[in-house]
Point group: C2
Chain length 224, copies 2
């Protein structure tokens, strides 16, 4: 039933997106003299953005790990949009092995935060997304692809959340041998579905300025 409800929501968001996409198109002209040209806008009907979000590069450069959240609820539409952002990440051999579990039941949240010392911030969040990899969907199991697929999906979620004005943080389940089965048990995941990380979400109760992570020592050209 939940799945059907999401499907209906998708259509609704697409319609809203179509209207707002047209509005957005009018305000995203590049600054005069700018070197970078935004790519040709995709058809408005395809954009599922309920409201303008932050400029992509700005979002990537200013994202911080946010661990404190206000009690303001996160709209379900935004959570689904974040899952869609995760599903839009590339995937090895296009195998799409990543699974997403939205956790919004306070009992389940409490269970996870008790089991996992790294997820204390779950106590302060009202919703979280668990990113997991389905080993049964891997074309070449045991090579480490589900971890990479999950990581890029999780990064999309973190950046998109920040761009929407939400705070989020990657809390690791993998590669901890004690956390993986604990979370599997709570969420009733099949044995082949391994949780990579839990991303608690909420409106930030802390303000963090950008950290400039540019480090010339880690940038090389043509050779080491």
């Amino acid at each position: 039933m939940q799945v059907f409800r999401y499907a209906v929501t998708t259509v609704q968001i697409m319609m809203v997106g179509a209207i707002i996409g047209l509005a957005l198109a009018g305000v995203t002209k590049p600054a005069a003299g700018a070197e970078a040209k935004p790519a040709a806008a995709p058809p408005a009907a395809e954009i599922k953005v309920p409201g303008g979000t932050m400029d992509a590069v700005t979002a990537i450069l200013t994202r911080r790990s946010i661990r404190n959240y206000t009690s303001r609820p996160v709209p379900e539409e935004l959570v689904q949009l974040l899952v869609t952002a995760g599903m839009s990440a590339p995937s090895a051999f296009n195998e799409r092995s990543t699974e997403f579990v939205v956790v919004n039941d306070p009992k389940v949240m409490a269970e996870i935060s008790q089991t996992n010392p790294a997820s204390m911030q779950l106590k302060r969040a009202s919703v979280a997304i668990v990113v997991a990899g389905h080993q049964g969907k891997e074309k070449f199991p045991g090579k480490g692809y589900w971890q990479l697929d999950g990581a890029v999906a999780a990064e999309n979620i973190l950046v998109a959340a920040h761009a929407m004005g939400l705070g989020a943080v990657w809390t690791a389940i993998y590669p901890y041998p004690e956390r993986i089965p604990a979370v599997q048990k709570i969420l009733k995941l099949p044995e082949q579905v391994l949780p990579l990380c839990i991303i608690p979400l909420g409106y930030p109760a802390e303000q963090k300025v950008r950290e400039n992570h540019f480090d010339p020592a880690r940038l090389h050209t043509n050779t080491w």
Copy 2:
């Protein structure tokens, strides 16, 4: 010398960013009635965006793997901004184990494309970014952290490139046992620095519409 040149460029971009950031601030107001509020804008002087880029969620949802590029050169400033985007990704234990090699020497590009059957598109690109992990910088070696750190950095680069109007694609080096030492040799990487992927970059010579990857079967709520 190259490093010093980049440091100077950084300052220049920051100054341009400060000016353009102010211009951007005027055009990124959310659409009326929008649910998602953009986060508070960071100080303009911190934004290093040479020109407006695409809305973050739109960029994430519409990014595609682009393997054909025009001959139009990619400005060096944008390549450095992409590396900065990569460096802005989160990192396990903040260990910052990821290294970035910008390849723009045609000879090096040709060598890599000859060695690696997956990187044929390098022949059509004039510049590429190699994302690698430094095992010597890992706090817990052998656990798989450098791969995750590298993956999130690579995803930032892919999304940022698309948002700037560039095309890019993840071409895998890891986990191929024959590709890793081949690329290490060409780029003269230390033994502990393992290449994860090569991302060729260029202005797209192919137009791809968005693929909607939302799959309700991979979305679960509270339990499997």
